[in-house]
Amino acid sequence: MGSNSDSKGEGGGGAPGGVSRRSFLQGMGLAVGVATVPLGLRESSAAPGAVSGIGPGPARLRLKINGAEKIVDVEPRLTLNDVLRDELDLTGTKLVCGRGACGACTVMVDGESVCSCMMLAVDARGKEITTVEGLAGSDGTLDPVQAAFIEFDGQQCGFCTPGMVVRARAFLNEHPEPTREDVQHGLSGNICRCGTYDGVIAAVLSAAGKEASKA
């Protein structure tokens, strides 16, 4: 699941009638692109060659992770997930499908839930990254979501749990007073192979209730 980029199996057939519009246009001797309407000339001020590429060798990146600046020298092809796990030893963030479909690698980027396996580390520069390691207080006090996962058995094997917990934290920031349906929809990007969804939903609803009564 997840790939829209492969050429197989996307429901499209050959062009209807066997003639694509492109070949039709080419057959007519018209330049493809004839459909466009010019809006005006652009003045470009960029000097050619002003941007030099990085890669395939390592480049130096500064990342802001759980409030601390981290400097890593990594190949620019690496994802944020690769850098968190392999370079920074923040292995709470898991890697399962590696293609955005399961949510096990969820982190917060400027507060938004993102699959760290689908984001290049270079793109994470200048953004606030929060991983599961960054949720508890510096004195070790658990985030209410973490405490509720323990109380309600929100995990079995636990492999999906860090992603669930991070997504649940971001979700409650977005929806302080969610319904059960809101939780189901809000966490639908996190797949649990053990099927412990009932515990997860109960935990998130309980954490929401506790936070609401404190607020």
Binding site: M1, G2, S3, N4, S5, D6, K8, G9, E10, G11, G12, G13, G14, A15, S20, R21, R22, S23, V32, G33, V34, A35, T36, V37, P38, L39, G40, L41, R42, S44, A46, A47, P48, A50, V51, S52, I54, G55, P56, R77, T79, G98, R99, G100, G103, T106, V109, E112, S113, V114, M118, M119, L120, V122, D123, H185, G186, S188, G189, N190
Partner: protein, 282 residues
Amino acid sequence: MEILIPKTLDEALALMAERGGELTPIAGGTDVLVSWHSREHESLKLLDLSRLGAELGSIRFSDEHLHLGALSTYWQAIDNAQVREEFPLLVAAAKEVGAIQIQTRGTWAGNIGNGSPAADGVPALLACDAVVVLSSKSETVEAPLHEFWTGYKQTVRQSDQLIVEIKVPRRDRDFQHWHKVGSRAAQAITKVGVAMAHDAEGWRIAANSVAPYVVRCRAVEKALDEGRKFGRPEDLEELLAADVAPIDDIRSTGEFRRKVLARIIYFGLAEPSIKPLADVGA
């Protein structure tokens, strides 16, 4: 793999002018990074658009249009009260793209740029008569989205052009319907889907996963514009034969797609998924 990271749109367009043919632009990366493992790392050359947020990242309204910057995401549209009010069809589609972790990163322009026939943002944009704004180093042009594709993953975009914006006309739409059929409620690629809208200019019916690219169903639109009423879904099926060419694949069969498309249009006409607001006057 090599990555070029321009800091301004002008720099990006200069790079496209020089090397556009070999560069793959990357926005949210939710399509590009799915397939990159299988690519030759050494030969892949990415043009990272992520530093262009100031120029391409916003959603704004002008008198006539909603402007979706090329880096604007589904999440930004869902999060925008004015978009929710004026373009519920776009928001309905946005909420069904992948799951939240994809919606926060996936862009409308990337959905068009990837060009999958199963793309979910595209039918909603088509039903709202969207226009793609393309820039190169020398000029900016517009292409109506319904003329953007010329074949499977073939488009009118030239190798030196970037999508800079998608413009969607602001109109009173008195009918809007959205229906996606997938194998589960979230995180599923569309087996067949439809976006429908009616306004003063007539009917727009766009279907995904039923042709080499997302298509408008012109025969059905014409019949509806002429005031035809459909008594049974089978009559729509006949008309759709001219509009779509669904195939059998790993997700579904051509026959299923044709039959279901006729029915989601038929039942949508009777009961649209998006209810127009009751106008109770002053």
